[in-house]
C-alpha cells in the first residue's frame, strides 16, 4: 500500500520535472510582435 502510494508520488514528481524541462528547452521562442528590429539589433534573430 505504502509502496504504491510512494511510487505514484515519484511518477507525479518526475512527470512535473520532465514537463518543466521540455517547456524550458523545447518551447519555441514566443514571437514578439511588439518590436521589429531597427538599425540596432534588438535581439531577434
Amino acid at each position: 500500500m505504502n509502496n504504491t502510494f510512494q511510487t505514484i508520488l515519484v511518477i507525479i514528481t518526475v512527470g512535473f520535472a520532465v514537463l518543466f524541462l521540455v517547456k524550458k528547452f523545447l518551447w519555441k521562442p514566443r514571437k514578439n510582435s511588439n518590436n521589429s528590429c531597427g538599425k540596432d539589433d534588438c535581439g531577434c534573430h
Binding site: 509502496n3 510512494q6 508520488l9 538599425k39
Partner: protein, 698 residues
C-alpha cells in the same frame, strides 16, 4: 476603496532613481520582465496618505525619449500608449542636483506629452558642498510643475513627494516647448493631416522609426503622410535638442546659481589616481584580487554549514519517513538538488555585494573607462568587465548583466564567452582532482596545487578572451560602434540599495538556475535508481553472494555502487566509454560526466557513490581521495594519473555542461542558435584539448 494611482519613475541613469523607488516602495517591489523582450520590469506599491495606494513603475534610466537601446525603448512605448494598463496618471522625473541641466531635457519632453509631471531634485544633501543654490518657486513657475527636494541619503523629502503624488490632479499640463517651432512648415502639414493628434506625440512616433525599432502605431497611420528623409529628420531632432537646451539654459540662468568657490570636489582628485595610465590598472587589479580572496575566505564558513545541514536533512528524511521510493527521491534527488543550489548562495551574494558597492560608488564607470580599449581588441566592450568578473561566481547573473552593452555584437560575444570563466561550480571538481594528482612541492613559495588552481583560473580567462578574439573576426553581424558612458561623481554607497541589489541577483540565480538544476536532478535520480535487467533488480542478492563477509554498512555501499553500475545512467556511462577512453576516462568517470549536466559540482558526489564511499564518508576528502587513488583498470594501471587528471581538469574548464546557462543564453539572445553553437563549440574544444593532453602526457 480608492483606485490605485499609476506612477512612472523616469530619469537619467545615476540620479538615484532606484533609491527613490526603494524609499517609496520599501520591500513591496517585484522584478519581472516586459513581455517578449529581455528588459527588467520593476514595479512596486506605495502607501500614500489617507489610504490611497500608488502603483509605481521604475522605468529604465534614459537621457531622453529618443531611444537608442531596447530598455530606453520601453520608456517611450509606455508613454505613447494611453491604453497600456501601466500608463501613468503622473510621472515623477528624478533629477540630480549636480546635473540639473541635462536632466531637464527629459523633463521637458515628458511635459510636452501633456502628462502631469513632478520634478524631484535628488541628492539635495550635496547642494551646499557643491555651492549650488536653487530658486524653487521660480523654477516651479517657469517649468510648470511642482518640485520636491529630496535626499534619499538623509531620508528627506519623501513624505512631501508622497503628498504631491496623491494630489497629482493639481499639476499643470502646460507643455514646455511648442513643438511646431522646430520646423513651422513641416508641422503645419502634419497638423493638417492629423488634426486630432498631439503634435509632439506625432513627432515622436515619426522619429522613433529613425532611431530605433518600430513603435506600435495603433492609433496613427503614417503610411499616407509623406515624411522627410532620414537625415533631414535627424537634423530636425538636433534642432529640437538645441531648442530645448536654449529653454533650459534660460530657466536655469535665473533659477540656479553655482558658486564654484564653495564647491569641494573629490572627484578630480580621485580620478587622477584611479584613471591614471599606470596606477589606475594597478589599483584595479589589487581590488580584484582582494575581492576574490575575501569571497574565498568568507564564503567557506556558510558553505560548510549549508553542506552539513543538507546532509543532515537528507538523513533525517530517510529516518523519519517510511522507507520507499519517494522517500529516496526526496532525500537523494530533491534535497540533494536543492542543497547543490543553496550552497552557492554565499559566493554569489558576496560577489554581487562587492560589485554593487563598486557600482554605487561610481568606481565601476572608471573601470569600464580603463578597460574599454583593451576589451575592444577582442571584440568586447569596456562594459563587458562586470559580466566577466561576475562569471567567477556564476555565469547566469553574469550573462544577464550584459544588458547594458549597447553594441549588439559586443554584447553577443560577451554572452558567448562568459561561460569560459571559472565559475564556483567548477571549484569542487578542480579541488579534488588537484588534490589527487598534483604532487606536493613548492615553487616560489606557493604549492604546486595552489599554482595549478591559479593556472586554471587564468586559462579560463585566457580562453574567454581568445575566443572573443576569434568570434570578433568570424561573426559578420553589422553593428554601430557607439559607446558613451557617464562618469558620475563618487558617492558613498547607500547600504539599502546594495542590500536590495544583492537580494535581487541572488534570487535570480536561485530561481533561474535553481529550477533547472532541481528538475535535472530529479530526472538523473530516476536514471540512477532504475535499471533494466536482472543485474539491477537483483543487486542485493548478487552483491551479498559476492561478499559474504562484509558488514552491513559496507555491504550497503557496495550494493549502491553495483546498482549505479547497472542503472540507466550506468548503461549510458558504459556506452560512452569508448568515446572517452582516449581522454583517459573510464565508464565510472563517464557516469559522473553525465550527471554533471545537472550541475558541475555533482561530479564529486557521483564519484563518491560509484566508488562506494558511503555518504557519510564523502565528507572526508581523504576517504574519497584514497578510494579514487586506488582505482585501477582491468590491467592494473591506475585510472587517476597525472595525465588523466589534467585531462579531466581541462575538460571541465572548457566544456559547456551547465544546462541552466544554456537556458539563459537562449532567453537573452532569443534563439536556440547561439546556445547550440556554445554547446557544440565548447564541448568540442574540451574534448580535443583533453584528448591531446592525455595522449601527450600519458
Amino acid at each position: 476603496m480608492s483606485k490605485q494611482i499609476n506612477v512612472a519613475l523616469i530619469g537619467n541613469p545615476n540620479t538615484g532613481k532606484t533609491s527613490v523607488f526603494n524609499a517609496l516602495t520599501g520591500l513591496n517591489q517585484k522584478v519581472g520582465n516586459y513581455p517578449g523582450i529581455t528588459v527588467e520590469k520593476k514595479e512596486g506599491l506605495c502607501k500614500l496618505p489617507r489610504g490611497v495606494k500608488a502603483h509605481i513603475i521604475d522605468l529604465p534610466g534614459t537621457y531622453s525619449l529618443n531611444a537608442s537601446s531596447i530598455d530606453e525603448n520601453v520608456v517611450i512605448e509606455l508613454l505613447l500608449n494611453k491604453n497600456d494598463k501601466d500608463f501613468p496618471d503622473v510621472a515623477v522625473l528624478i533629477s540630480d542636483v549636480e546635473n540639473l541641466k541635462r536632466n531637464l531635457l527629459l523633463f521637458t519632453q515628458i511635459k510636452d506629452l501633456k502628462i502631469p509631471t513632478i520634478l524631484v531634485i535628488n541628492m539635495a544633501d550635496r547642494m551646499n558642498r557643491k555651492g549650488i543654490s536653487i530658486n524653487i518657486p521660480l523654477l516651479e513657475q517657469r517649468l510648470n510643475t511642482i518640485i520636491a527636494l529630496v535626499s534619499t541619503r538623509k531620508n528627506e523629502g519623501i513624505q512631501y513627494l508622497k503628498d504631491l503624488i496623491k494630489n497629482y490632479k493639481e499639476l499643470s499640463l502646460k507643455p514646455c516647448l511648442d513643438t511646431s517651432t522646430i520646423d513651422v512648415e513641416y508641422f503645419k502639414n502634419l497638423n493638417n493631416a492629423f488634426p486630432n493628434q498631439d503634435l509632439f506625440k506625432l513627432w515622436l512616433v515619426i522619429t522613433q522609426d529613425v532611431n530605433f525599432g518600430n513603435v506600435e502605431r495603433q492609433e496613427i497611420d503614417l503610411s499616407q503622410f509623406k515624411t522627410k528623409s532620414h537625415s533631414e529628420l535627424k537634423r530636425l531632432q538636433q534642432k529640437e535638442t538645441i531648442k530645448r537646451y536654449q529653454f533650459i539654459n534660460a530657466v536655469l540662468k535665473e533659477g540656479q546659481t553655482i558658486d564654484t568657490s564653495k564647491a569641494t570636489g573629490f572627484r578630480a582628485k580621485f580620478d587622477r589616481i584611479l584613471t591614471h595610465k599606470v596606477w589606475g590598472y594597478v589599483i584595479f587589479f589589487i581590488i580584484l584580487l582582494t575581492i576574490f580572496q575575501a569571497i574565498y575566505d568568507w564564503a567557506s564558513v556558510p558553505m560548510d554549514f549549508i553542506d552539513a545541514s543538507f546532509a543532515s536533512l537528507s538523513d533525517w528524511i530517510k529516518n523519519t519517513f517510511s522507507s520507499g521510493v519517494f522517500t529516496d527521491l526526496l532525500a537523494e534527488g530533491i534535497v540533494a538538488g536543492i542543497g547543490g543550489i543553496v550552497i552557492f548562495i554565499p559566493q554569489i551574494a558576496f560577489l554581487f555585494l562587492f560589485i554593487s558597492v563598486l557600482e554605487e560608488s561610481g568606481y565601476m564607470s572608471r573601470v569600464v573607462f580603463l578597460m574599454d580599449r583593451v576589451m575592444r581588441r577582442f571584440g568586447l566592450s569596456g562594459k563587458s568587465v562586470v559580466p566577466l568578473i561576475s562569471g567567477t561566481a556564476c555565469a547566469i547573473p553574469a550573462i544577464m548583466a550584459t544588458r547594458n552593452i549597447e553594441n549588439w555584437k559586443e554584447r553577443l560575444i560577451t554572452i558567448l564567452v562568459t561561460p569560459f570563466i571559472t565559475c564556483s561550480a567548477r571549484l569542487p571538481v578542480y579541488l579534488i582532482i588537484i588534490a589527487l594528482v598534483i604532487p606536493e612541492g613548492r615553487l616560489l613559495g606557493l604549492s604546486y596545487q595552489a599554482l595549478t588552481l591559479m593556472l586554471l583560473y587564468l586559462i579560463g580567462f585566457g580562453m574567454s578572451v581568445f575566443s572573443a578574439y576569434i568570434l570578433n573576426k568570424v561573426l559578420k553581424t553589422k553593428s554601430k560602434s557607439f559607446f558613451v558612458i557617464e562618469m558620475p561623481s563618487y558617492k558613498i554607497p547607500l547600504l539599502k540599495n546594495v542590500a536590495i541589489t544583492v537580494v535581487e541577483k541572488t534570487k535570480t540565480f536561485v530561481f533561474e538556475a535553481g529550477r533547472i538544476i532541481l528538475a535535472i536532478s530529479v530526472v538523473l535520480w530516476v536514471l540512477a535508481s532504475y535499471g533494466p535487467g536482472k543485474s539491477f533488480t537483483n543487486a542485493e542478492t548478487i552483491v551479498r553472494s559476492e561478499n559474504p563477509s562484509l558488514n552491513t554498512i559496507e555491504l550497503e555501499d557496495k550494493i549502491a555502487a553495483h546498482k549505479l553500475e547497472y542503472s540507466y545512467i550506468g548503461i549510458i556511462g558504459k556506452g560512452i566509454e569508448p568515446v572517452i577512453k582516449p581522454l583517459g576516462y573510464d565508464w565510472k568517470i563517464g557516469i559522473a560526466l553525465v550527471t554533471s549536466f545537472a550541475a558541475r559540482e555533482v561530479f564529486v558526489g557521483t564519484l563518491a557513490t560509484i566508488y562506494s564511499v558511503g555518504s557519510a564518508d564523502a565528507e572526508q576528502d581523504d576517504t574519497i581521495k584514497n578510494q579514487m587513488a586506488a582505482e585501477v583498470y582491468p590491467n592494473g594501471n591506475k585510472i587517476f594519473t597525472l595525465a588523466s587528471g589534467i585531462s579531466l581538469l581541462l575538460f571541465y574548464a572548457f566544456a559547456m555542461q551547465c544546462m541552466s546557462t544554456l537556458a539563459i543564453v537562449k532567453r537573452e539572445t532569443n534563439t536556440w542558435k547561439w546556445p547550440m553553437i556554445q554547446l557544440f563549440g565548447m564541448s568540442s574544444i574540451a574534448y580535443i584539448v583533453a584528448l591531446i593532453t592525455f595522449q601527450l602526457l600519458k
